[in-house]
Amino acid sequence: MNTPIRRLAIFSMALFGVLLLNVTWIQAFQAESLRNHPFNSRQYIDVLTNPRGPILIGSEEVAYSEPVSEDSDQYQRHYPANGLYAHAVGTFPIRTEGVEKTENSLLDGSDERLAVRNFMDTITGAETQGASVELTIDPAAQQAAMDGFEALGKNGAAVALDPESGAILGLYSNPTYDPNGVSSLTETEAANTRWEELTEDERKPLLNRALQERYPPGSTFKVVTAAAALENGADPDSTMDAPASIDLGAPLPNAWNGPCNGGQPDPLAHSIEQSCNTSMANWAIELGADKMTAQADAFGFNQGEMDVPIPALGSNYPNETDRNLLGRSGIGQADVEATPLQMAMVAAGVANDGDVMKPYLVDSVKDSDLSTIEGHTPEKLSTAVSGRTADDLTDMMVLVTEGEDASGSQGAIPGMQVAGKTGTAETGSGPTHNWFISFAPADDPQVAVAVVVEHGGQSGGVLAAPIAKGIMEAVINE
């Protein structure tokens, strides 16, 4: 009878083994995702009684927690900059995408990397504290973006990057909203009403247009087309037919209804300077869909969603085999769609000798005793073009702001060279979207910018370039 008893003993042990493995799975491996599960109401209630770490920009706290009142154990989140950083920072209690959400476990102290510190706090009886999160945003650049859009009074977004590292220096979406209005713990009724209003507002103030909206990039995409041409054997002086209009199913004219080089084939550099539609469409057709797609991919198109750590939509450059669509895609129309972040990455890639760096928003995370838990090492996303091509593109883009036929002279900054590209995108419905992408100084780029004005109805040079100029000046003048 001993053999079956032994087997039964082993079987019993196996049953306990299953239980042990399962609790390990739940409490060690799955714990994080269960804690953040949408059904889990603990995360909304528990966290209100924890002092949450601050979010810093520069050395300024743009989000911090304070006790609601003396006899309450809840903490109220404050956003002293009101709407300025709303889309980057988010709200707490969490209602939107933002650093408050993506870095939640660090801010509230539940992250495993803070476990040892929390344990020590429990022993010493100190209150557990969340980590502080420092963002890469440059307050002056952000303010410049906000000022520009508020003066204009139109919807849109601006993204500024440090081309060398990928650090996000500016992330602004217009209209914005005041996070304080929706995060009050004492007047929850009013906060909920305000939230309702914001979700129903036709101008979509909650939408982070910089990351979560895709626009046809229009002529700013010609930088990508030119890059594809240069990478495939052309040089800035290579010419292409540039009549007043070409037939792509429907006629595709130039913006000024005339030819680009007096009817002569137009050199590539001049096509960019003047933003010639017909020659750039011809370039795309001549290069072919595969080369165009490869170049767009190298700048970051078609790569799907990306977390910066706030989720950013992927941008699309469909592989068009149809000649008409291919031609239009070369000037950023047809089904080409890009987020403002993506177009900023195009500018930054050219600025950084052809290397596109991975954009990031969180500079560092520090423990309550200021030891760094998480730093950021710049990471190369892709090599978009060779250094030589990048130099050629830079020269061509400088012509956009200061050439004889400059289409974006409003982006120029006195005393330095600015490389830029305008864009005026047909939308199918309503007035055009107006773009400007740029970087400066052209010989030693410190900042790359993309600005889009939704349905501005004028040229990118007129509406978007001044905002981009303001942002660039703010970064460079520091």
Binding site: N2, L15, L20, Q27, A31, H37, F39
Partner: protein, 477 residues
């Protein structure tokens, strides 16, 4: 058999001081749990610390002293493990009471612990030879059946949380199935020892070509299996809605018939019959289906019952039941993570009825993975020590009995904790020694007393013949 069993014999050492040291550790951990709760929740030492600590510690030490006198050769690990589990259970109930969770009743649990320990002592004292239980197998069978059917009697039967497994005696309520399972193990041990040869030898071979696939028992020997199966399925599942007890009893039955016969065909037949019946019943037995759906699709919004699902009158949770308790239990455990929030630091009230079957999730939340691992390992140790007693014993009945009781403890733990942690569907059962409730606690201590007594007898050295007294020989009674 003699050569083999000699190597299995447990060393004839008492190790009572080791038991004392470990029991003191278990009491210390219980006191520490109470203190930690008091400090975390109220910022002060719990005012009832001396009441609880003194009473519980005193009881455990009394049990130890009692064992020194009346079962000095018994396994020294069993009492400390039971003390630890029982103490943690009381401490957690006290903690839940501090968290204003109604119905925790730690004082009640403490009093029941005292009563259970008294019964424990009584059994050890009066039942000198557990083999005498072998004499009344059919009486035990009758007792088991009566106890199991008792809740069906109109007037005294009660339905709690859907399962009809309670009896209301006016001044208190009992869960007779907790005792029925012990009676059943006694019956099965006695019955199978006597019918062992028939059950294990008579067979019909199933062959495919030249290969023997299975060694089937004869149809006429299937009777006990058929009775057990019918009882578990018809009475427990259909009439009483007591899936946990059904699963537990049938599992124990299969384990015991396997131990008795060493034939795996019994297990194959038994499992096929049980799961076949479950599959057949699935479309017809409502509560059974609910348990399955809430287990498999626990995170489906319509099963969990989100606000959106609540608005839809056809949603599963509005027509049948929801998985909120199960899922919130998992959330509680996730909240605890590796080290837990510390006793008193969590929010166990998020799980409904956390003081009952779901008390495990409260341990998971406040003691973390580390704490529940300790608890699971303590239970594993208890079960495996029980199996060791079965191996060391010489009589067949005792072997059956000890291994049956041990497996029952282990399988019961698996059924309840597995249900709470979503390994198997939730059925409702009690964690031995930990769970709240007099019946569960008492039956745990009864099982412990039986194991202690059997281990004492297995480890006690055989009396030595007195050499110089010629023909006189001392014979062990």
């Amino acid at each position: 058999m003699s050569a083999a069993s000699n190597s299995l014999a447990l060393p004839p050492v008492k190790r009572r001081n080791a038991e004392l040291a470990m029991t003191l550790l278990a009491i210390g951990l219980t006191l520490y749990a109470l203190i930690e709760t008091g400090l975390t929740r109220n910022g002060e030492m719990p005012p009832q610390l001396f009441l609880y600590g003194g009473l519980f510690g005193g009881l455990a030490l009394l049990a130890h002293v009692f064992i020194r006198f009346f079962a000095p050769w018994s396994d020294p690990l069993l009492l400390p493990i039971a003390t630890l589990l029982n103490g943690l259970g009381i401490a957690m109930l006290w903690r839940l009471e501090q968290g204003e969770i109604e119905g925790a009743g730690p004082m009640n649990q403490l009093i029941l612990t005292a009563a259970s320990m008294a019964v424990f002592a009584g059994i050890i004292f009066f039942l000198k030879e557990p083999r005498t239980l072998q004499r009344y197998p059919y009486l035990m069978a009758l007792a088991a059946v009566v106890l199991l059917l008792l809740p069906l009697l109109p007037g005294i039967g009660m339905t709690v949380n859907g399962a009809r497994q309670w009896v209301n005696l006016g001044f208190t309520s009992l869960q007779p199935s907790e005792f029925a399972k012990i009676a059943l193990v006694i019956f099965l041990s006695g019955y199978m020892v006597s019918k062992r040869d028939v059950l294990s030898l008579a067979s019909k071979q199933v062959k495919v070509g030249r290969f023997k696939i299975l060694d089937l028992p004869r149809m006429r020997d299937m009777a006990p299996m058929a009775v057990m199966w019918g009882f578990c399925i018809i009475v427990l599942v259909i009439l009483m809605n007591d899936l946990g007890t059904s699963l537990m009893l049938f599992g124990t039955f299969l384990a015991m018939i396997y131990v008795a016969t060493h034939r795996s065909s019994w297990i194959v037949i038994g499992l096929a019959a049980f799961f076949g019946a479950c599959a057949l019943l699935y479309p017809f037995v409502h509560h059974f289906r609910v348990r399955m759906v809430t287990w498999l699709n626990a995170f489906d919004p319509e099963v969990y019952c989100t606000d959106a699902a609540l608005a839809n009158p056809d949603a599963f949770c509005n027509t049948a039941g929801n998985s909120q308790q199960l899922v919130r239990g998992l959330f509680a455990m996730a909240e605890g993570g590796m080290t837990g929030t510390g006793l008193g630091g969590g929010k166990p009230g998020f799980v409904f009825e956390v003081q009952n079957d779901f008390i495990f999730t409260a341990f998971g939340e406040e003691l973390g993975l580390t704490g529940v691992m300790v608890m699971l390992l303590a239970l594993t140790l208890l079960v495996e020590r029980g199996m060791r007693i079965a191996l060391a014993s010489k009589e067949l009945f005792i072997k059956m009995f000890a291994s049956g009781i041990s497996f029952l403890i282990g399988f019961q733990t698996f059924v309840v904790i597995g249900g709470v942690t979503r390994v198997i569907p939730m059925t409702g059962a009690t964690i031995p020694f930990v769970a709240k409730g007099g019946s569960a606690l008492l039956s745990s201590w009864v099982m412990l007393a039986l194991l202690m007594r059997m281990s004492n007898n297995a480890r006690k050295p055989a009396p030595q013949a007195i050499q110089d007294e010629g023909a006189t020989q001392v014979i062990q009674r």
